[in-house]
């Protein structure tokens, strides 16, 4: 079975065609600068067998980008997909697992667009376009929030007036679930521990967003992100944890304009707000040669960024109780040994001891960079969200097929 995976960014559309069950990527690419015209023309970078083609095309929205991508893909019969898997950020209260799109649940999906106003609407528009153009091709929506449906009530509830919160849908949803679930499965497999016995803290440290996930018996038990992706770690431009009274002061200061405060906390804070130079922590870590006041600022940004991760690592190691592993993944987690080292140092109380040389030299993933005396493995694992989406999509299709087969059996009886 070939599954075409779509991952909708706010101004990009990534795609990949994956052959299942072996997970081989047949082709993939990215449409960039999707949206209103910018100084550069929008382009599609299409890759097959290590060759890259660049196709220029005007793409005013994601539906047009989708059509252009389909034109390229359908030009090659070997790539013709049997199903489409879509990454959708927010599944709200409705979607606790990957879902095969039907007329009904598409309506439900549209209704929760405002829970992730930047991410959900383009993905939903794309699903609609897909359904219209290819009504017979099964579409599966895979949600970032779904893996966190298992977070227990006491970790999920915010201590607000309980009925009020329930009616307004305020609780922890958690994000990055597709990635956390993927690396957790890979890690359990790598360590040969049955997934339903596997305990870990998974650190998805991206160059944009980042979150930690506490994993008990293979399931998500907590996530540093909350009702929205704003809570938790210091991210590229998101502030992470913030005293709610500060948010209220900012709201008064903005004369009650919640949108303005949201923009400040989501787009202008985090590493960018602290450093004043860049929202990419790699620039901060590499920029240590700058002198004067700027230098102190970079050092402080780095310290705050790392400290927040370390605090949460301690908190999650405590709630997981007896972890098999700490997992690092995504751009920063996979590629910056210094970050892994800094946040794992001084955690020997939890049985965490890193082998610094192994950590520094880690290139071929997956790898364990813990020392021999560490009771907790420290794994660096490459995340692969497209493959994760393909796996979830395949599982959802199999489940459906299973139930259909059951029905057929009944019919024949």
């Amino acid at each position: 079975m070939k599954i075409l995976i779509f991952n909708c960014g706010s101004s990009s559309l990534k795609y990949k065609i994956i052959k299942m069950p072996d997970g081989q990527a047949l082709a993939g690419g990215e449409a960039q600068r999707v949206g209103p015209k910018t100084s550069e023309r929008s382009k599609i970078f299409h890759r097959v067998n290590g060759h890259e083609m660049i196709i220029e095309a005007d793409m005013e929205n994601h539906s047009i980008a989708f059509e252009k991508v389909m034109d390229i893909v359908s030009g090659n019969p070997a790539l013709a997909p049997d199903a489409v898997g879509h990454r959708v950020v927010h599944g709200g209260d409705i979607f606790k697992d990957a879902a095969i799109i039907s007329e009904e649940n598409l309506k439900e999906l549209e209704q929760i667009n405002d829970m992730a106003p930047l991410h959900n609407p383009p993905a939903v528009a794309l699903i609609k376009a897909c359904c219209e153009k290819y009504p017979k091709l099964p579409q599966v929506a895979v949600f970032d929030t779904a893996y966190h449906a298992s977070i227990p009530e006491y970790a999920k509830i915010y201590p607000l007036p309980i009925e009020f919160a329930r009616k307004a849908g305020i609780k922890k949803y958690g994000f990055h679930g597709t990635s956390h679930q993927f690396v957790v499965e890979e890690a359990a497999n790598f360590l040969k521990v049955p997934l339903n016995e596997f305990n870990a803290v998974s650190c998805h440290l991206g160059s944009g967003g980042a979150s930690l996930c506490a994993v008990i018996k293979g399931k998500s038990a907590d996530n540093t992100m909350g009702y929205s992706p704003l809570q938790g770690l210091v991210m590229s431009t998101r502030c992470g944890d913030l005293d709610p009274s500060v948010a209220m002061r900012l709201l008064s200061r903005a004369a009650g304009d919640g949108g303005e405060v949201e923009k400040l906390l989501n787009k202008e804070s985090g590493v960018l707000g602290l450093s004043g130079v860049s929202g990419d922590i790699r620039d901060i870590l590499n920029g240590q040669s700058a002198k004067g006041k700027g230098q102190a600022n970079l050092e402080r940004t780095e310290e705050i960024y790392l400290w927040r991760i370390k605090k949460y690592l301690g908190a999650y190691l405590a709630i997981v109780g007896s972890p098999h592993a700490i997992i690092f993944t995504d751009t920063i987690g996979e590629n910056i040994p210094y970050v892994r080292w800094a946040v794992c140092s001084g955690l020997s109380s939890f049985g965490v001891e890193m082998d610094y040389k192994k950590n520094d030299a880690a290139k071929h993933l997956p790898i364990d960079v813990a020392s021999d005396k560490s009771s907790v493995k420290i794994l660096v694992i490459e995340t692969n969200e497209e493959l994760a989406i393909a796996r979830r999509s395949e599982a959802a299709l199999k489940r459906q097929k299973g139930t259909e087969d059951e029905f057929t059996k009944f019919d024949s009886i």
Binding site: D241, L242, D243, P244, G258, V261, L274, L317, G346
Partner: protein, 333 residues
Amino acid sequence: MRGSGKRNACNGRIKDFRSLGPRKTLREIFEILNNFEFSPEFTAIRVPYGGNIFKKHTISDKETIESLQKLASEAPIHIPPTIELAIELALAAEKMPIVFIFETAFFCSLPEREAFYAVPRKISESLKLRRYGYHGIFHQAAVEEGKKNKAERVISICLDALPEIVAAIKGKPVFTTSGCTPLEGLPGRTTCGEIDPFIVTMLNKKLGLGPEEINRILSEESGLRGITGKNKIDFPEIYLSNSPECILAKEIFEYRILKACGSCVAAMGGVDMIVFSGKHHSLSEKIKEFISKHLKIKESSEIEFVTCADPLAKIMAEFAETCIIANKLKTAK
């Protein structure tokens, strides 16, 4: 206050301090003390805010009062009445030393990595946004307990209407659950504690609530009150009642305690002692049991648990006494 030779205590409350003013209030207090034949040797005044100036508890003199006056604009509710009280007290009892006990002194050395929020620097600076830390007097008492027992790494759990957990190494704080205000951190009796800050802007955008209304919900209608729906609920009750809402409140509270303890252990590279204090210190046995069961770290079996049952006034008296003795020794040199 100290009696003759052995320590004893009496306490009281003047309800209408604001309408009486400091002079009349003090006259009343001294009258009462006289009736009990109680003559204090020194006075300790609690000051909720000492800014960046007062890093330790300080004996009142002309210079101190001047420094306090400079701080008045930063804490206009707290500082001016403190100054007034000290001046009147000096007039009423000329030779009696007065010691200012600052709630914020303990947190002066909180490292930047812990104190700073990840918002644009200009905004932090202009609005003075940082973690300040609260209940400094209780936490200081906790680290004093640590010093007595040669425990360098202390987790201090102040069980109060606004509970707070602090990690301190060799007497210096490195982590606190509370934030710019005590609203952040653990859930309190009526306060929400740490939440996704996006919820604030969402309530504004989606439900059209203004900052004051949101503030009322988060600080007066939340916490134990919000979870249980019981207006008069307080911490002891969630440990006594078996109702599902009280059990849920307890689970949420204890879960947050466990997370905070984990952060403390990571922040200090371990822990030697856990000290409980504050109004609800009597719950320490149950919380100790919970922590012992769930905090699985190498030194689990060696952690010493201490409950500091002293009321605030007694702790203040001890700090003031230490301050006076130190001052005498210094001037004698």
